[in-house]
Symmetry: C2
Subunit: 350 residues, 2 copies
Amino acid sequence: MQTVFFDKKPRIVGTGTIAGPKECAGVVGKYVDKSLTDDTFGESTYEKAECKMLSYAVSKAIENSGRTEKDVDLLISGDLLNQIISASFTARDYDFPFLGVYGACSTMAESMAIAAAFINAGYYKNIVAATGSHFSSAERQYRYPLELGNTRPPQAQWTVTGAGGAFISYLGGENGKNIAQKNPIKGENPAYRLAPAITMATFGKVVDFGITDVNNMGAAMCPSCAHTLLTHLEETGRNADYYDLIVTGDLGALGSRILKDLTWEKGVDIADNHVDCGEIIYNVIEDEFQGGSGAGCSAVVLNSYIMDKLKTGALNKVLFIATGALLSTVSSGQGESIPGIAHAVAIENV
Amino acid sequence: MQTVFFDKKPRIVGTGTIAGPKECAGVVGKYVDKSLTDDTFGESTYEKAECKMLSYAVSKAIENSGRTEKDVDLLISGDLLNQIISASFTARDYDFPFLGVYGACSTMAESMAIAAAFINAGYYKNIVAATGSHFSSAERQYRYPLELGNTRPPQAQWTVTGAGGAFISYLGGENGKNIAQKNPIKGENPAYRLAPAITMATFGKVVDFGITDVNNMGAAMCPSCAHTLLTHLEETGRNADYYDLIVTGDLGALGSRILKDLTWEKGVDIADNHVDCGEIIYNVIEDEFQGGSGAGCSAVVLNSYIMDKLKTGALNKVLFIATGALLSTVSSGQGESIPGIAHAVAIENV
């Protein structure tokens, strides 16, 4: 059994998001807390800009929850940079414990799942889960110097410049969508009125179909995503149409189509209720590129756009599956293929 | 409150360890499951050797527990390489879910703490926590090409070539050291007769005292180690002498002395019951170097030497604090200092 269940219903009481200019030209533009016009965020390096964005997302998630830093019991975070320096240096700025994770672009779901698991068990009451990425820091670490102006093949994705954080809390009680209302918290932040709950999580297996094209992450991550989704449905006894939305991050347009094929072959039709964060974050023209990627992709889309729909009740049952490609420049250089991983988190208005 | 308590007593029912020739010349030599005479482990690259060692440690921990791969619910692992490829590629070889973590050299404690937390909450019954490192892969990633034959300053440590894994299980019942005996498992492995329990864990904060010398990790990690230790003692109401041994990993000889000073200043004397994994793994001559480091350092020492003493009852109450230096070549190159982190796990024969 890969799925764990959270009967205490840890709730997402606030989120914080920030994104770059290219990202904010798309659907998330009007939902993020801050749109950057300058992707250096006033810093001297892209790595420092990435770290500052992540710090912003953490602080904003706390603020939007009507809480303070003193209320936070733990930060769970990771990012794409070597030795997750964005997360580590973000954690340095705060006076709460830190749990560093690495799941590549699956980090948002991984950190939310651990946070919910810890809160559900009663270890902590308030945990912030956050991640982010930056196009320019990722590009020069994983691919080529920016100055080279390298062309990209059509199957490539574009690393999202952005960060997102979720403040996850135990609000008491067991059931009913009005728990948050019965537990008024200072400030009467509307976010509490219908704080979506994390009801279960499915930790994924590493799956490798032998993809070696580092420009085709979508294809590399699809098999693990399909595996986690099918396992989740089987273990929970839910049908795919139980969910208003199955939102994957960041398969891209091509990856999203492959996922639909892979699940359809297994008798599961997600054509009508699936979107991919990478596919929707930009206005994708497929022969140009496949959309967004990076840990910040699903972090921004989930914590801004999707969370807005959950809070307003436009969506009530969402399965969030963040996907990660587990490679490094060294592993690819040594001829290894690209395994994928995907973790799923069910977010519901219950 | 940084400390979480595990009343269900998740138990370490088996461990697996492997180490290189330089390591096995020291105290761990007669306790590890496998001593390598060739540090390439028959592989074509050091990265692949590191991955193979980690796989060995995971498989051996499962075998030494008298279990099979089918019994494992989750693998929690991480390592020092960019994008934790050793852990990810190890996970690829098994058919159980994977949770990737990054805590630099604190990974053994971090992964054990999460494993114990998940088991204590009833999410899973059997989790393997493991990590490792390799001198040659770390050296060329973090420092200089091996071919350069670079000299090392006296405050430097030596990255351990080795890996260790712990199989952590819920064996039922609540108290009493004979629980394992009352739950006989196939094979009558003596390891069950007195399986040490993980009774609590203290997740650490990131602490930065402004150390910028990348050759002096011990000094960089000491403040966080002292903070976690003092917090643990304060929150649990235990005195330092409650523990038969407070074993830190991997401060090295110099770091170990600084830790004693830092805690002594706060009125906590650990002179008589503290050792450091980095200090004891080699026969340290301090003007040559300060001992071992790397995620594999504490993983090997804890899961071989220390675990043997716990199983035979020579030690009954051990506080294991693994320490991590949160830097990358990029962060150091951009002028950042080196923050440290330390997570503590209490392992007791109860």
